[in-house]
Symmetry: C2
Subunit: 196 residues, 2 copies
């Protein structure tokens, strides 16, 4: 199962925090796929998150997310800025997608955004997330800023569009696309049936 | 629990077909609230369903709905016209909201739209739905077209906007709003906690 996520996406937060444990419990192999929603929204004529463009939906989403996090016993604090600039975090997650520490890094960044209200656009915040995993944060950050790393994320976002992805999180199992944190269980059930 | 639905809304179909049995199982009293999404979408600058305006989302929605109906063992056939004109059906459901036959009528109309691909804008189709419940279809249809009935539905749609409703189905429990067929279980859990 592929897990497509965007660090600035609200519903990607609970999904990112629970996807690995659930996939493991179902025996479903997991691929982490960071991408950017910005270019996808822009192609649709939106210059901001739909949750900001349509305030009634936005108000509902924040309350819904609060309830979901309470149910899952996940810490949640509504960030002051939304959406946050996620391109640097996404470049790191895309460049180091196969590293064993990647899931821990992804969770740390989501917690920084949605539980600690820290600004994940700041390199220092990401460097700290890496350092706390006993990784050479400054060095990895520099690698994630190389032209090759930038190209990797651009290509991955283009791949998302080609796959029909329009929001985050999205789970892909074979040719089937499941959109939203609330579709994680359905995606896993689909993957389990395919494996059987 | 209030169940706010729109006859033309795709995700209202599985919700309408399962809400009564689930609410009863949880001991949660249910109110059926028909309303129109058209005026709400128009106020947002949309002159059509967002599933038509944003075709990538639309394509996903039809596949998602197909999978959901398969899981629930509900018959499903993608209608030729979408969205269908639902104002007459909604006037009936609004005018006769407290009648004991209302839930059966609502389910029959949703099946006509999403399982039988019949045109629910046609008075004959609605009359047939009523007649099959041993009701005087022609007479009820006439009553539903009275100025008072039209005003009832307009007022109910304005009430929906005032409550912060922006899509269908929506479940309301106290001050809490739950949007989407996939939030029915969460709404019932909330209602059950309130009753306890």
């Amino acid at each position: 199962m592929q897990f497509w996520f965007e660090f600035a996406s609200t519903y990607s937060y609970p999904a990112a925090l629970r996807v690995e444990a659930l996939a493991r419990r179902h025996g479903v192999p997991l691929e982490w796929k960071a991408f950017l929603l910005g270019p996808i929204f822009q192609a649709q004529g939106w210059n901001d998150s739909p949750f900001n463009l349509f305030p009634v939906q936005g108000r509902y989403m924040w309350r819904d997310l609060e309830r979901i996090c309470a149910d899952l016993e996940l810490p949640f604090r509504r960030p002051d800025r939304f959406p946050q600039h996620s391109v640097l975090a996404a470049r790191i997650a895309c460049r180091f997608a196969s590293e064993p520490w990647l899931p821990d890094f992804v969770r740390a960044v989501f917690r920084a955004n949605f539980a600690e209200d820290r600004d994940i656009a700041q390199p220092e915040v990401l460097e700290q997330c890496l350092n706390r995993l006993d990784l050479p944060g400054a060095e990895l950050l520099q690698q994630a800023q190389s032209p090759e790393s930038k190209a990797l994320l651009r290509a991955q976002t283009e791949r998302a569009v080609a796959l029909g992805i329009f929001g985050a999180p999205t789970f892909i199992v074979g040719d089937e696309l499941f959109w939203g944190n609330d579709r994680l269980e359905a995606a896993l059930a689909w993957a389990t049936r395919r494996l059987a």
